[in-house]
């Protein structure tokens, strides 16, 4: 039961604050073409497609049907999945299960967003329950700011610790030609940037971008014929427990813990710091790059600031995080988590160019969104 599957191609647009030269369909088509080129495939080689975004960002219903106009999904099997910020993770997982089911051999996942087409905070606020929580939900910043406020109080972490995460990710982005924000910054720059939502400042926060990403998955028979070094999917996992934002327990981060424990277990990982070579984490705010690290089996509770200060997660550290620059540098929301998977795959495939971490055999990508919904994928250069 179940077939093995691997990622064989990755394509993304360049990401920027506003693409006026292309509409959504045309933006998607750019990413699709690049993924096909990357895998040296034609559209006719694709057996099925999954697409996703967040509906209220562009106000387009049935995006799956609409999108085919720009990129030739004409007369193919296509479906749409969406889970908010984690949509990209959901897409990757959906494409993987398409292949693993044995029903399709080569499947493309497409994530996209044109955040410039609406007010991102307004659109994201509509994810809160309209009767009880919408008026009190200041977009995605609110809960994360509150979480880090608690974290600082409890563990003596500082705003500078979070700034180190921004500096790391932004400066990594300098080597990623697709990244949206590419400017050298320092801790001081972060500390001096305007306060958005205490203690989160402008540079602690992800941008909003226009962009698209496509990732091609292939079956165990097809993958080695398409790619020299496919990135094999060893495990995916997801956890979604809450209904209201007020339900979540930020001290224990139960959905993050559940997701990583499930995915580590399924991939046979016991010591991620040693066994995983690179991670592309969905960190929407720099503060998450501190507080969330406590829940990923890297260290004991409250120890994350020390790891960050020591540079454990830097490009030359023990476990490089976000060589691409991560979400802090690029954030077309429906594509963001799929870019994490795509970047992790490129690392395994040895195709990450200037941002390549040497000798990557195991990579992990995560997704975050919705009501504290986490997803994770583990990729390896070896077949499961």
């Amino acid at each position: 039961m179940g077939r093995r599957a691997a990622i064989v191609g990755v394509g993304q647009t360049y990401h920027t604050s506003k693409r006026k030269d292309v509409n959504g369909q045309e933006l998607i088509s750019e990413a699709v073409k690049r993924a096909l080129d990357n895998a040296v495939l034609g559209l006719r080689d694709i057996d099925a497609i999954v697409i996703g975004n967040m509906d209220h960002f562009e106000g387009i219903n049935c995006v799956d049907g609409w999108s085919v106009d720009g990129w030739g999904a004409f007369r193919r099997p296509i479906m749409k999945v969406t889970t908010g910020g984690s949509t990209g993770g959901t897409l990757g997982s959906c494409a993987y299960h398409h292949v693993a089911s044995g029903l399709f051999d080569v499947v493309m996942a497409i994530g996209w967003e044109k955040n410039s087409e609406s007010d991102t905070q307004a659109a994201i606020s509509t994810c809160a329950d309209p009767i009880l929580e919408r008026d009190f939900f200041g977009g995605a910043i609110g809960p994360n700011a509150a979480q880090y406020a608690m974290y600082m109080k409890r563990y003596g972490a500082t705003q500078e610790d979070a700034a180190l995460v921004t500096v790391r990710d932004h400066n990594n982005a300098l080597k990623n030609p697709h990244a949206h924000l590419r400017k050298f910054i320092t801790v001081q720059d972060v500390m001096n940037s305007p306060m958005l939502c205490w203690p989160i400042k402008l540079l602690d926060s992800c941008p909003r971008s226009d962009g698209a990403c496509a990732v091609i998955y292939a079956s165990e028979d097809k993958a080695p014929k398409i790619a020299d070094r496919p990135a094999w999917v060893h495990a995916t996992a997801v956890s979604h427990d809450c209904v209201y934002f007020g339900d979540y327990d930020w001290e224990t981060m139960p959905t993050l813990e559940a997701t990583v424990s499930r995915v580590y277990k399924r991939a046979g990982i016991t010591d991620p710091l040693k066994e995983i070579d690179v991670m592309e984490l969905y960190l929407p705010f720099s503060t998450c790059g501190v507080a969330w690290m406590d829940h990923m089996w890297f260290c004991d509770r409250g120890e994350a600031p020390k790891l960050v200060r020591k540079g454990v997660f830097d490009m030359d550290g023990e476990l490089p995080l976000n060589p691409s620059g991560g979400v802090l540098a690029t954030n077309p929301i429906g594509a963001t988590a799929l870019i994490r998977i795509g970047e992790a795959a490129l690392q395994v495939m040895g195709k990450a160019e200037d941002r390549q971490v040497p000798n990557v055999n195991t990579a992990m990508a995560t997704a975050f969104g919705s009501c504290y919904w986490f997803e994770a994928t583990i990729l390896r250069s070896t077949k499961p």
Partner: protein
């Protein structure tokens, strides 16, 4: 039909949705209705307890997700609790309800009501973050005229 030159990058246009609005009539459901009527008629906050695991949920709901059992033990949580988390929103954004910018600063809080295991979201009447502390005791201030909405609580205030 005649061919025309492809031309260079010309003007780039945008389409606008204008003031489009979408009206919804949401039934609050059997549990939230009771919760809101509690605010309206009794100036109290109702939670619900799972008789299997003992967790007390607010807002109340039909099913305890952990035990997957329906709940029927209503709990009167009163009006006081402590700040579990807060955030002072300083950057205005478009209010999806009105299409207009929200007024800032605005303090969103997560209140852990005494006796509850989850938090209620609301506003705090203090916008200076230096004067707000996590764990501070707060009390709900009710409006004089109440209609059965979450805004029957005007806001929370630090005791």
């Amino acid at each position: 039909m005649k061919n025309i030159s492809t031309g260079s990058e010309g003007e780039l246009l945008e389409m606008s949705s204008g003031g489009a609005e979408h009206v919804y009539r949401w039934y609050c459901g059997h549990y939230i209705s009771k919760f809101l009527i509690g605010l309206r008629d009794r100036k109290t906050i109702l939670g619900i307890k799972c008789s299997h695991c003992g967790r007390v949920y607010v807002p109340p709901r039909e099913v305890c997700g952990r035990c997957y059992r329906t709940m029927d033990k209503w709990v009167d949580l009163g009006t006081e609790g402590s700040i579990y988390a807060f955030t002072v929103v300083k950057l205005p954004y478009i209010d999806p309800n009105t299409g207009k910018s929200i007024k800032v600063p605005r303090t969103d809080i997560y209140v852990k009501l005494d006796g509850a295991d989850t938090c209620l979201m609301h506003w705090l009447d203090e916008t200076d973050e230096k004067k707000i502390t996590v764990g501070a005791r707060v009390r709900a201030i009710f409006k004089e005229s109440r209609r059965g909405t979450i805004h029957d609580i005007e806001c929370f205030t630090q005791i």
